[in-house]
């Protein structure tokens, strides 16, 4: 295939490369070789996403017609500032998590399942990328299911260390399927009054529809379905168990990218597809999304403070962080949406890094990482722990870290909209998040009462390098946030400016 052909087809390659390498990986019984396929798949997606981001930086946005059928008859991929940024963040994080998986994944499952696990891994990363790229409401459902089913396989593989992973996977399957079906019901009602499934076409036709109730109900069901996937409070209930019991590498990848894709779709549905009915969306934002986001922030933070199992603690913290992103989108101003995108990127590197560090601890301890088991690990695994700390400080929003930039732009956006009460709540919750992080830091450098728990093997670069890539990204984006902030601003402008 010529270079020109490759460049012309970049939007498809982001999705198709991982999806088509998945069956190849499934056929390879050797763990290392299957991992190479996974690296090629996620790496190929990352390069494509990088080039796409480069293309949209100049303000270009274009549509890729799959099968050369023009929309609304065919399915299109939409490449614009918002989708390219999200897909780049996701591709980068899944590539880093794949590097970590080389050692981590085969250690937690039987190695003879590794090929199939990497296959599911590729399916999840390709499916999530497709979710972001597609401009067709029904095609989105198909990708929703690809990513959900492959994530369920990966979560269920956690049974290799803890049987409760099976229950977590089953619950995710049921809750996720109900959510996806709600989304399909919503799409069906909207289709019945518009006759189209293409998002851009929907955005044009929805304002002309006479039947208001159908639009409101269809909108409500679509959003409800997406909220389940994004794990926004109170439909976050599948998330803590799923992240806590999945294999470490899987937790890291899912925490970094899975809910991000759903949050991006939420923004897309709110600000482009239903942009023509502003009173409906404004109502939903003001009375549903913002209160739920705030409730999620506090629920997640408080549950995290009282949790002892470190993976579950981080998962509860994710519920809170998803709340921040949802809140930022709920502000609905250009600045708010930009803050949302900034935090999508920053939370991905923060939480991805923390889960990678916990994965490192797990492999050293060979048991579930509880707070008491972490006693004194700071001395014995200094490289991993320092990386963990950098990400942790970024999580609470210390200046000079990426997390600070997120909070800064969120608070600014809130002040600009005179949402002072909400801003105070955000600051209070940030202060609360110091509580659970401090609890961990204290224990990491405490001397154990008895002897040290024996560790299995020393720290190896294979495990801490991916973590450090993310830790450095946290520092770099804290000091020089311009690239991410600019990209997020462009994304926000594009979404609020409507589809042009």
């Amino acid at each position: 295939m010529s270079l020109a052909a490759i460049i012309a087809n970049l939007p498809a390659l982001v999705v198709v490369v991982p999806l088509l390498l998945a069956p190849v990986a499934a056929l390879i019984p050797v763990s290392g070789a299957a991992w190479v396929i996974a690296v090629i798949g996620t790496g190929g997606a990352l390069i494509s996403a990088w080039l796409l981001q480069g293309a949209v930086t100049g303000g270009v946005s274009f549509s890729y017609h799959l099968g050369s059928w023009p929309p609304p008859w065919g399915i299109e991929f939409v490449v614009d500032a918002a989708s390219a940024l999200t897909v780049l963040i996701m591709a980068a994080l899944s590539f880093v998590a794949t590097l970590f998986a080389r050692r981590a994944l085969p250690a937690e499952i039987n190695e003879r399942d590794a090929g199939k696990a990497y296959s599911a891994w590729l399916l999840a990363s390709g499916g999530l990328a497709g979710l972001v790229m597609t401009g067709d409401a029904f095609n989105l459902f198909v990708f929703l299911e690809i990513s959900a089913l492959s994530s369920i396989i990966l979560i269920a593989l956690g049974a290799g260390t803890d049987r409760r992973a099976l229950v977590a996977a089953y619950n995710y399957l049921i809750i996720g399927a109900v959510g996806a079906t709600f989304y399909v019901i919503g799409v069906g009602f909207i289709y019945a009054v518009t006759g189209t499934l293409n998002m851009a076409d929907l955005a044009e036709r929805i304002p002309q529809v006479q039947q208001d109730t159908v639009i409101i109900v269809g909108f409500g069901f679509m959003v409800a379905g997406i909220l389940v996937k994004a794990a926004v409070f109170p439909v976050h209930i599948w998330l803590p168990a799923a992240y806590a019991f999945a294999p470490s590498a899987v937790s890291a990848m899912l925490a970094a990218i899975a809910t991000k894709a759903a949050l991006y779709i939420l923004a897309r549905i709110l600000f482009t597809v239903f942009a023509g009915v502003p009173d409906v969306t404004a109502l939903a934002l003001e009375w549903v999304l913002v209160p739920l986001a705030i409730a999620g922030i506090f629920t997640g933070t408080i549950l995290a403070i009282y949790e002892n199992d470190i993976k579950k603690l981080l998962a509860f913290s994710s519920v809170a962080q998803i709340g921040y992103i949802a809140l930022a989108f709920g502000i609905a101003s250009s600045a708010g949406i930009a803050a949302g995108f900034i935090h999508i990127g920053n939370h991905a590197i923060i939480k991805g890094g923390m889960f990678l560090a916990v994965g490192g601890y797990f492999l050293a301890l060979r048991s579930r990482v509880s707070l008491s088991a972490m006693t004194g690990l700071g001395r014995r695994m200094p490289i991993t722990t320092t990386g963990f700390l950098i990400c942790g400080l970024s999580l609470i929003g210390l200046p000079l870290t990426a997390g600070f930039i997120s909070k800064l732009y969120l608070v600014r956006a809130l002040i600009a909209e005179d949402m002072i009460l909400v801003m105070i709540l955000v600051l209070v919750s940030s202060a609360l998040s110091v509580a659970y992080l401090w609890k961990i830091v204290e224990i990491l450098w405490q001397r154990p009462e008895g002897d040290d728990v024996p560790l299995h093997g020393d720290e190896t670069p294979a495990l801490y390098l991916p973590l450090w890539i993310l830790a450095i990204a946290n520092l770099w984006l804290g000091v020089a946030p311009a690239p991410l902030v600019d990209a997020a601003n462009r994304a926000a402008m594009h979404l609020v400016g409507g589809i042009s």
């Binding site: 295939m1 010529s2 052909a5 012309a8 087809n9 498809a12 198709v16 999806l19 088509l20 998945a22 069956p23 190849v24 499934a26 056929l27 019984p29 890729y64 017609h65 799959l66 099968g67 050369s68 039987n110 003879r112 049974a159």
Partner: protein, 156 residues
């Protein structure tokens, strides 16, 4: 069930016609209801019938697990490969128009190929599902035993 001569004879007689019907549904999908998905289920049904009557072991001899897995992947790769072929011949992904000089004929070829890919994957998946469920051994997963016992069991 395996020793019943009536069942055995019926299964032998029915096996080929079911597959032929499956192929008809597969390749006549352009003109009548049907296509890769329905055909895949029907063809898998023939193999499942065979395994029901002659036993899971015999079924596995007919389609060993490695072949089953290979077919599973082959279908997806065939479908995706048609898309890649479209790209490499100057079109967009899954563009069938460029496959042949005449776009209409290209569409025909593309549709037949991707439907065949669907049929392949569905047949293989249905067969794999049947064998996985029918041959499930709860003991293997019930409780921890030593890893030696783990490794001595069934091959992939």
């Amino acid at each position: 069930m395996r020793d019943n001569p009536v069942l055995r004879t019926c299964a032998k007689i029915l096996f080929a016609p079911i597959i032929v019907f499956g192929l008809y549904v597969q390749f006549h999908g352009d003109y009548s209801p049907g296509g890769g998905f329905q055909a895949g289920v029907i063809i898998a049904a023939a193999f499942i019938l065979h395994a029901l009557i002659f036993g899971l072991e015999a079924g596995r001899r007919l389609v060993p697990q490695w072949l089953n897995l290979a077919l599973l992947a082959a279908g997806v790769l065939l479908y995706g490969g048609v898309g890649v072929a479209g790209m490499s011949m100057g079109g967009l992904y899954l563009d069938y128009n460029v496959l042949l000089p005449d776009p209409s004929a290209g569409q025909h070829v593309g549709i037949i190929l991707v439907e065949f890919g669907v049929g392949l994957t569905v047949t293989a998946v249905m067969l794999a599902l049947f064998h996985a469920f029918a041959g499930f051994n709860p003991e293997r997963f019930g409780d921890e035993t030593s890893d030696e016992a783990d490794h001595s069991r069934g091959g992939s």
